[in-house]
Subunit: 218 residues, 2 copies
DNA sequence: GTCATATTCTTACAGTGTAAGAACACAAAT
DNA sequence: ATTTGTGTTCTTACACTGTAAGAATATGAC
């Protein structure tokens, strides 16, 4: 690692491309400017290369997205197995949410993405093992696992791309009409701000976890 | 309405375009072939016209999607207010799910769409009124309303575009390796089939509803 | 008929993902 | 130092997208 690239001269020196660098740049671009404006050409611009150069590392945009999904899943920590199983689920839920909030632009894509890479399946498998450790029957843990996932997906989607942020061409209803025609929404409006998201997430999570714990008897 | 169009002759007779007909055709196309292959040109083909003719009725694709979202929201029945409030929430949850399942191709778009049309806001307002009827404080109903929505969104997304259906370029892990490397997933596999979706949805919904009911005291 | 208006189509453009292959870089072998 | 090979990057091209601008057509009023 002595003088392999002569950094600092004016001569078109550039970090060479790599899977890692491309994935990083894609996250940076998407989480900063949104999925809607993402394209291979813009990503290439960000990387300082031509669009087709990316295809030497990823055979298609879909494969790049797969790699990004994989990376997101790998970021989620799985707590040690000597903790209480419910506590482990709670920790993983927070870990999942933290991942989503680190990638607000990308998360909506992850939420509807098929999870069939080894990394993703490995995580799901480990989550299911926690349900097994809790002593749930096959039927119970398959259900509770899904309910757990439903809640996490819905919550993270709302916090990242929620209906206040999603795309829409309709112009918003003006403030005064809004207050008159939708008084119940207006009343809770202040509580819909981001600073209440964590509390809401926690409250809902506890309910879901309580349901999971209770399902052990049935 | 006697002989306005002479139906049945070979002469290029065609139902004239309309907002309604375009929206219907868009639902048909998307729910049959998926969002990925949808385009204005293909929709025009389905309608028997040219792509630009659609723009006389909707100023952009985004506006068409807005109209479709609106229509979906209008399809959800709101139960009469003399029922028990929890029962009303349960009914609306099933109504919402039924809407999603009627439009499996379109739902993923709806799930991340901003809801700021009058129709959509009207529905949200009526849902919030149910929480008010239940006697929840402003803070409690703002939270429980969101948790309710999180669950519905996550569940319907999974049932329509779930991770078993979403896009992915990665080739699936072969069966024998799967059983060896991901035994916990393999064990619950049979329970992940669509015939178990309803039971799972109901189980999770009851947990969420119980949480909502319990939040009245706090 | 003529005319006004509403509807539909033609053409065109900038942007997309990516196939095919040319051009380049650089280490090892001569 | 030159050649060779191999991995990396770029050039060009194509079929597709959403939609702007305006021409052509249909429809009904007078």
């Amino acid at each position: 690692m002595s003088e392999r690239k002569r950094i600092g001269t004016k001569k078109k020196v550039r970090e060479p491309l790599s899977h890692e660098r491309i994935v990083q740049a894609a996250f940076a671009l998407i989480d900063r400017r949104g999925l809607a404006v993402f394209s291979t050409r813009r990503l290439a611009e960000e990387l300082g290369c031509e669009a087709m150069s990316i295809y030497h590392y990823f055979p298609s945009k879909a494969h790049l997205f797969d790699a990004m999904v994989d990376r997101c899943m790998a970021e989620i920590p799985v707590p040690p197995s000597d903790d209480d199983w419910i506590e482990r689920l709670r920790r993983m839920a927070f870990g999942y949410r933290a991942m989503a909030l680190r990638h607000p632009g990308f998360y909506p894509l992850l939420a509807v993405h098929r999870l069939n890479t080894r990394t993703a399946l490995g995580l799901l498998d480990r989550v299911l093992k926690v349900f097994e450790a809790g002593g749930l029957s096959v039927a119970a843990r398959s259900r509770q696992f899904r309910v757990f996932g439903y809640y996490l997906t819905g919550a993270c989607l709302d916090e990242t791309a929620g209906y206040a942020r999603g795309p829409s061409a309709a112009e918003p209803v003006p403030g005064d009409e809004f207050a008159r025609d939708f008084p119940s929404i207006a009343a809770v409006g202040p509580y819909f701000k981001p600073e209440h998201h964590l509390k809401t997430f926690e409250a809902g999570l506890e309910v879901v976890l309580e349901g999971i714990r209770a399902s052990r008897k049935s």
